[in-house]
């Protein structure tokens, strides 16, 4: 392995100040990233807890463990917590926050106070949502479809809506901060086409955050107003149009999937280049495909509504546009594969997670094409096929990328290595557990099992038991890293500035970095992935 000094640097961003206030009032992007990391990890386990209850209930065909109403609350809160409080902020708010300024050679984001404010907004929205959960939860599904959410549901729709509304602004502010930072804070010589692809991916993500999130904000606000004052914007009984809600909701919530997956794609590009010791094949194609996904992503929302009553022509157009998203997505997958091809593969845990990403994302993407086909979608609409598809993207894709990134940059963030053997084992467990959980759901959906029911016919039991068993394995797969990451903070081997011998400005500094990141502003003279010029010091 790489020889390093056995001591952490004397001064770094973690030990420069101590005390709770030094964290709660910090303007350092790295500390804010850690605040986010802790918060979203808590939300991840809360969302996971709801998933556990769902899968336990579905282990038997009868509705025997939870009542139907409780089950409705469980899948709703699983979705709300996981989407709005874990997946959306996951990579951008933690790894993005930590790495973006370092990758472009800046001391911090353009607006450090705004960055801290966004965390407080996130926490405020989270607390309100948690309050809604504690006082009885919400049962509308994470989609809040009207008129059920406005006229029928007796649960805490308004409180949850307010929580989601508020949290949205934290996402908007993060996106805004990133775009300004990427435009205005790059180090001398760091041209757009020398930027790491992680930065390109975050630029595209940020565009979606600032263009899409306000629309869900106003939509949720209208739902709350309609519930509170019985105005008839979405309620057909009052002359309103529930399909308008669906349009507005999916105008954000489809692109939101790209908020989750694009940062993961950025991680994959970095990891693939580093562990195959090659320049990313077709750099500019990969960079522009991120932007293409962001743009196309805004034009496909109505494929969620093929059965909601739309004209055949509209369905055809949205179907076609949805297929077209496959092009930039496939560009990425092919280019990563081409990068790996004949590379000097160094099979470390981050790369294992990335392999998981590429395989699962490909399956999730291809089954997305099934759903984009307006005819086939009618057959599998609102079945477990859809559930399996989006979990392949959001868990198999987004979280795999998140795990890869956490492992890859963990030594940078804390100066110590995670235990490699355990990490490889965890990657394997997650991959096996994930597929056992969600692959049977494709079959269940194709056979006609609808989503969001707490009981099902007996012939579906075998596949459901497989899925529940897989979820257990998956849960263990996520708990193992939790344990060894915490262990490594104290007992991990000291990593040194660049344990992977990776390119990128973030690896030119000490680990953990100084508060100011760099002692002098770096000057960039070459592209992001000049691995061919780099001597590999691995034994």
């Amino acid at each position: 392995m790489i020889t390093t000094t056995s001591l952490l640097p004397r001064e770094h961003y973690l030990n420069i100040r101590y005390g709770i206030l030094s964290w709660l009032l910090t303007k350092d992007h790295k500390r804010i990233a850690l605040l986010y990391l802790i918060s979203i990890t808590a939300f991840f386990f809360l969302g996971g807890l709801f998933a556990v209850l769902i899968r336990l209930e579905l282990a038997t065909p009868a509705g025997d463990m939870l009542s139907a109403d409780t089950y409705n609350r469980m899948f709703t809160m699983h979705g709300v917590v996981m989407v709005f409080f874990f997946l959306i902020p996951s990579i951008p708010a933690t790894l993005g926050n930590f790495l973006l300024p370092m990758m472009i050679g800046a001391k911090d984001l353009a607006f450090p106070k705004l960055n801290l404010l966004s965390w407080y907004i996130f926490i405020l929205g989270g607390v309100i949502t948690l309050w809604a959960v504690v006082v009885g939860g919400v049962d509308t599904g994470w989609t809040f479809y009207t008129p059920y959410s406005t006229a029928a549901s007796n649960t805490n729709v308004v409180a949850t809506g307010v929580g989601v509304f508020i949290t949205g602004f934290s996402s908007i502010l993060t996106g805004l901060n990133f775009i300004v930072t990427i435009h205005r804070m790059r180090a001398p010589g760091l041209t757009w086409f020398r930027l790491p692809l992680f930065v390109w991916a975050h630029y595209a993500t940020s565009l979606i955050q600032i263009l899409g999130t306000p629309v869900i904000a106003i939509t949720v606000l209208l739902v709350a107003l309609e519930r509170a004052f019985h105005i008839g914007i979405f309620d057909p009984a009052l002359g309103g149009d529930p399909v308008l809600f669906q349009h507005l909701f999916w105008f954000y919530s489809h692109p939101a999937v790209y908020i989750m997956i694009l940062p993961s794609m950025g991680v994959v590009s970095e990891v693939v280049a580093c562990f195959s010791r090659k320049n990313v094949f077709g750099y500019s194609f990969v960079a522009f495909s991120s932007l293409a996904i962001a743009v196309f992503g805004f034009l496909v929302w109505a494929h969620h509504m093929f059965v909601a009553g739309m004209s055949v022509y509209a369905a055809m157009i949205f179907s076609f546009l949805s297929f077209s998203v496959a092009i930039p997505s496939a560009v990425k997958v092919f280019n990563w594969t081409a990068t790996l091809y004949r590379g000097a593969i160094w099979l470390q845990a981050p790369l294992l997670f990335v392999f998981g990403f590429i395989g699962l994302f490909t399956i999730g993407g291809l089954t997305g094409l099934f759903l984009a086909a307006a005819g086939l979608d009618v057959h599998v609409h609102d079945t477990y096929f859809v559930v399996a598809h989006f979990h392949y993207i959001m868990v198999g894709g987004a979280i795999m990328g998140y795990m890869a990134g956490l492992h890859f940059w963990w030594p940078k963030m804390f100066g110590r290595m995670y235990p490699e053997g355990w990490a490889k084992f965890a990657a394997l467990v997650v991959f096996v557990g994930f597929n056992l959980t969600f692959f049977p759901q494709f079959i269940l959906g194709y056979l006609g099992m609808p989503r969001r029911y707490y009981a099902y016919p007996e012939e579906f039991q075998v596949l459901n038991v497989m899925s529940s068993a897989g979820a257990t394995i998956l849960g263990v797969g996520y708990l193992i890293p939790m344990v060894y990451f915490l262990w490594s903070l104290r007992y991990g081997r000291v990593a040194g500035p660049n344990p992977w011998s990776a390119t990128g400005l973030e690896w030119t500094t000490q680990s953990p970095p100084l508060t100011e990141n760099f002692t002098t502003t770096p000057t960039v003279t070459e592209g992001a992935y000049e691995y061919s010029k780099r001597e590999m010091k691995v034994v």
Binding site: A110, H183, I210, L211, L222, I233
Partner: protein, 223 residues
């Protein structure tokens, strides 16, 4: 870059920036991006407006006639005037005239408050007429339900706009105080300029709201 070195010790320069120019450019870009999010935010309401105007043209015409075109027209003039005084405040800050900056900002704030007071009278009138959507809503005519949707959107759109006005007045008050304390100079007046951008945006939203809400089918009515 050598001419930037002189700015390094400027008290307004934040640590993450190299130069004051970089800081000012960042602030301006950030503000423009924020305004983009605002457009998308209002956009959801405009979408709803568009849909129901196509669905219920008759109710839109009837509902629009319930709005007070005189008060609405006066408010439009007040707001456009406030955009002028805001622009003059930015100009004064740019040319290093702090007293004029404060004066123009105070006039802008006064015009903003005038707008809000007039809006308040309009709302009060709607309450008296039972034209506020909800259980107490009353309206004579065959399209009462649809007129209620029109008025729901009226309250949502103008209410959200008024909220932005309130925030704007608060923002300008802070800026006026800072200008009074001589915090700005020709090298550093980004907060004044950005508040100006925000104020003009809120003005422009009203420029769209006024015809869309007050002027539906008016010409036909007068003819």
């Amino acid at each position: 870059m050598s001419n930037h070195v002189a700015h390094v010790h400027h008290p307004a320069l934040q640590h993450q920036f190299e130069t004051l120019e970089q800081q000012q450019e960042s602030a301006t870009l950030g503000m423009w991006l924020f305004l983009v999010t605002e457009i998308m935010f209002f956009g959801g309401l405009f979408m709803a407006y568009l849909l129901y105007r196509i669905w219920y043209p008759q109710a839109w015409a009837e509902g629009s006639l319930e709005l007070d075109i005189v008060l609405g027209g006066v408010n439009t003039a007040v707001l456009i005037g406030s955009s002028l005084t805001m622009a003059l405040a930015v100009r004064a800050a740019q040319t290093g005239a702090p007293r004029a900056t404060v004066a123009w900002l105070l006039i802008t704030i006064a015009l903003g408050l005038t707008f809000l007071v007039i809006k308040g009278f309009e709302y009060a009138h709607k309450f008296e007429m039972h034209h506020v959507p909800g259980p107490g809503f009353q309206f004579e005519g065959p399209h009462a339900r649809q007129v209620e949707i029109f008025l729901s959107l009226y309250f949502a759109m103008t209410g959200l706009h008024a909220l932005h006005m309130v925030i704007g007045v608060g923002l300008l008050s802070v800026i006026a105080w800072m200008a009074h304390k001589r915090r700005f100079s020709p090298e550093w007046y980004a907060p004044v300029e950005m508040s100006g951008l925000y104020w003009h945006f809120v003005d422009i939203v009203w420029i769209f709201l006024f015809p869309l809400l007050y002027l539906v089918d008016r010409a036909h009515h007068f003819a």
